[in-house]
Symmetry: none
Subunit: 242 residues, 2 copies
């Protein structure tokens, strides 16, 4: 537009392809930390490792780690407390939400609906953003669940790990935070569901389908597989409450 005009245009052109966004270390570290939080299913109030240990584990200096924590603190993901440690930030209404829903009569349908909303989207995002490491974690969780079932277990822990790994693979701090808020509620339904005979194997099959779609990088398939999986849990819930 104003190319030939005397005043120097500060913005070169409307089409700004990609000036090669330099990713600074602290950003990567922040990303890793939030992934770690999601992956380990940390809930508000849970403590992060000490700065010195965390820095060493991530292979960065304490100064850089500190920058990452500042970034996470500014967006409200964590709270750093002098002399005490760093904790996952508690959202203002976390307990209120859980309690309110607990008090509600038949809360199972609500939990199912919410899981469907969040996890379907999470599966789709995971399918397009997953890294090799993400896939590996998902695979590991799957293997752990299978091993547990083989031994006659219900695979509860593996189930949780799987969903945590998928959530982490979506690389969305906000979504993983919301999942964290309702984690307790989900856990209760999960245990109920997996208590039914044959349910663990069916659940495992559902997980495999989800993992496959995520590996294939097919968001719609991942979403639909996750939806089917949640629906399956829903059936169990209905049977129970009826």
């Amino acid at each position: 537009m104003t190319e030939s005009s005397p005043p120097p245009p500060r913005v070169p052109a409307p089409s700004f392809p990609a000036p090669l966004s330099r990713v600074r270390l602290y950003e990567q570290v922040a990303e890793q930390i939030s992934t770690w939080i999601a992956e380990h299913d940390l809930r508000p109030g849970d403590k992060l490792p000490p700065e010195r240990e965390l820095a060493a584990r991530l292979g960065v200096s304490r100064a850089t780690l500190s920058q990452a924590l500042v970034a996470l603190e500014v967006i409200g993901a964590v709270a750093v407390r002098h002399g005490d440690g760093t904790v996952v930030a508690k959202s203002l209404g976390a307990t209120r939400i859980v309690e309110a829903v607990r008090a509600h009569a038949n809360r199972l349908p609500e939990i199912i609906d919410t899981r469907d909303a969040l996890e379907t989207k999470i599966a789709a995002l995971a399918a397009q953003r997953r890294t090799e490491a993400d896939l590996q974690r998902i695979e590991d969780a799957l293997a752990g669940m299978e091993a547990d079932i083989e031994r006659g277990g219900r695979g509860v822990e593996g189930d949780e790990n799987f969903h945590a790994a998928v959530t982490a693979a979506a690389h969305s701090l906000l979504l993983s935070q919301l999942m964290g808020e309702i984690a307790d509620l989900i856990r209760e339904t999960r245990i109920e569901s997996l208590s039914q005979p044959e349910r663990p194997r069916a659940s495992l099959a559902g997980h495999r389908a989800i993992a496959e779609a995520i590996r294939a990088g097919d968001p719609p398939a991942a979403a639909s597989a996750m939806h089917a999986h949640v629906e399956m849990v829903s059936d169990v819930a209905v049977l129970r409450t009826t």
Copy 2:
């Protein structure tokens, strides 16, 4: 190293009813910098002094200054360019750092994703559970938004009312609670979005489509209409960050 005379421990105020909120150095520094920007009337693109000089002038180490810059960068106030310098990114005028802490920057995509996840499901549920009263409330919000736009307004309030009405129509306590959690975050994107010319009318059209599907009791249509609506907002967000 040490001062010739040891400074006495500073007492903040003669009376401190507050639990004595610890203000970390980087926060104060960030505050000072943004104040400095405002005072000197720096505009987007203007350069800040080099880190070394700035750190010396503020009497802090480079590490601390760096933390402050990270904080300012996360809230989108400045852009730090390796080898070149730090420039003002956006006029922050009277916005206070501490308040802007919840703001966006890199979170916009996440907020969009989350909205999409929750509201799409909410729309579908609303389509199958809405009562006559729900429909009426949705209609009212729509009418209010239209009237506001006719008067040259941006329909921000009507927009909020509409989404609140739809959320209520889904009759899911959990989902509405979660929407409440991210309401603040959404509000910012909403205002940005509706600030663009012609956007309010387009938004209104989107709302109409959603309302129509909900009235018709067609969950898939409602979900897809809501998805399209959120996508539209997403486009705006992309434009902003470019």
